[in-house]
Symmetry: C2
DNA sequence: TAAAAATATGAGCCAAAGCTCGCATTGCCA
DNA sequence: TGGCAATGCGAGCTTTGGCTCATATTTTTA
């Protein structure tokens, strides 16, 4: 199925329409649930006719795909920026920064994130998510290899995988069923402890 | 919406029909995906008429609910049995057993598990899953409290939550995108290391 | 300013899927 | 063996929601 947008907006007005559709789609998804997120409802909330909607997106899946893309790109962009200069920093500090970055990333649109993560399969975002976690895995593995001498001897690839999955799962899960925890320093602290102790870093 | 089965089977034959429907539903879900899992298709695969299907389930959601219930009960039952006598064992051994149990649990119907976990929202199994993880949390917290003297000083409730979420996420994720890892002793070993080192247990 | 291009509209088409209902068949019991 | 209850059947009703298309409006261009 074709998921690419149907036309590139040439005038400002159509660009606005395009934005309105995506915004409305995300809003309906969050506020009314996947079931209510029909193309007609999205068009209505966007203040746009159903015909216009289909001038920009070839089908409903393309809308969902665009939302997922944008959301994941947002997250990955933030994470990438936050971890750019990590290589130079000492381990404990790098871990703190990484954990903080993942927490920040989950604070952007937590409600949209919750809906999307529960419905990724339905909305066809599985492969995108797995590609994203793959990128994170490579990032962390690269870093651990640089610091190999400072951590206990382990299978670096496996260790990186374990850390990426754990950290993301903990923060993701907290976002979903205990958002108030996200803000507490104890929470971030314990995740750092989990990581540093696993790696065998002293004084964690 | 009513999700309870419509009638209790009185004769052996109807019991078989009921089983056939649930089995077929799980099979279609796994082999053909959620989209193809229509009530008509399920009835067809079950070798049963659509009319019969609706004699046992008031609606499609009830079928999905029954599958989720059965699957989660299976998992929770296994986990419960496997962790019954954990309290007496030393920490390192208890952790090994717990991790092994969670791995075993994920080996039962990994394919069904994958589909269900990706579609829980759609199929209405969110609350059931969260109740299950809540039970696991209580289980682990109770155990940690018994062993409080042997672990480093931490917020026991938070620690239990972190461990339950991490261990489950790691094994769950491995089930989904690296099933071959599940069998390796190194995998289980590293998860145990993660847990024991976090708790500050010596010699892990 | 007039034609052409871009954009917007929304009634309604159509396929898909959940589900019903009247009838057929099978099994149980006196 | 006759009759009643339980179970099984499947054509098709109904709703829903994705999507089209003929037409209208706005903007650009020459």
């Amino acid at each position: 199925m074709n998921l690419t947008p149907r036309k590139q907006p040439k005038q400002g007005r159509s660009r606005a329409t395009w934005e309105a559709i995506l915004t409305a789609a995300a809003q309906v998804l969050v506020a009314e649930g996947v079931d209510r997120a029909t193309t007609n409802r999205i068009a209505e909330v966007a203040g746009v006719s159903i015909g216009s909607l289909y001038q920009y997106f070839p089908n409903k899946a393309a809308i969902m795909s665009a939302i997922i893309d944008r959301h994941l790109e947002d997250m990955l962009g933030m994470l990438g920026r936050a971890t750019l200069e990590l290589a130079d920093r000492p381990l404990a500090e790098a871990v703190r920064h990484y954990v903080a970055a993942v927490i920040e990333v989950h604070k952007v649109h937590p409600d949209l994130h919750r809906v999307l993560s529960r419905q990724l399969g339905l909305l066809g975002g599985d492969d995108k998510l797995s590609e994203m976690s793959h990128r994170a895995h490579k990032l962390v593995r690269g870093y651990l290899e640089l610091r190999r001498s400072e951590i206990r001897a382990v299978d670096i690839d496996l260790a990186a995988w374990i850390l990426v999955v754990s950290v993301d799962a903990l923060i993701h899960q907290a976002t979903i069923d205990a958002p108030e925890r996200l803000a507490t320093p104890a929470f971030a602290g314990e995740i750092c402890a989990l990581v540093l102790r696993y790696l065998g870093v002293e004084g964690a």
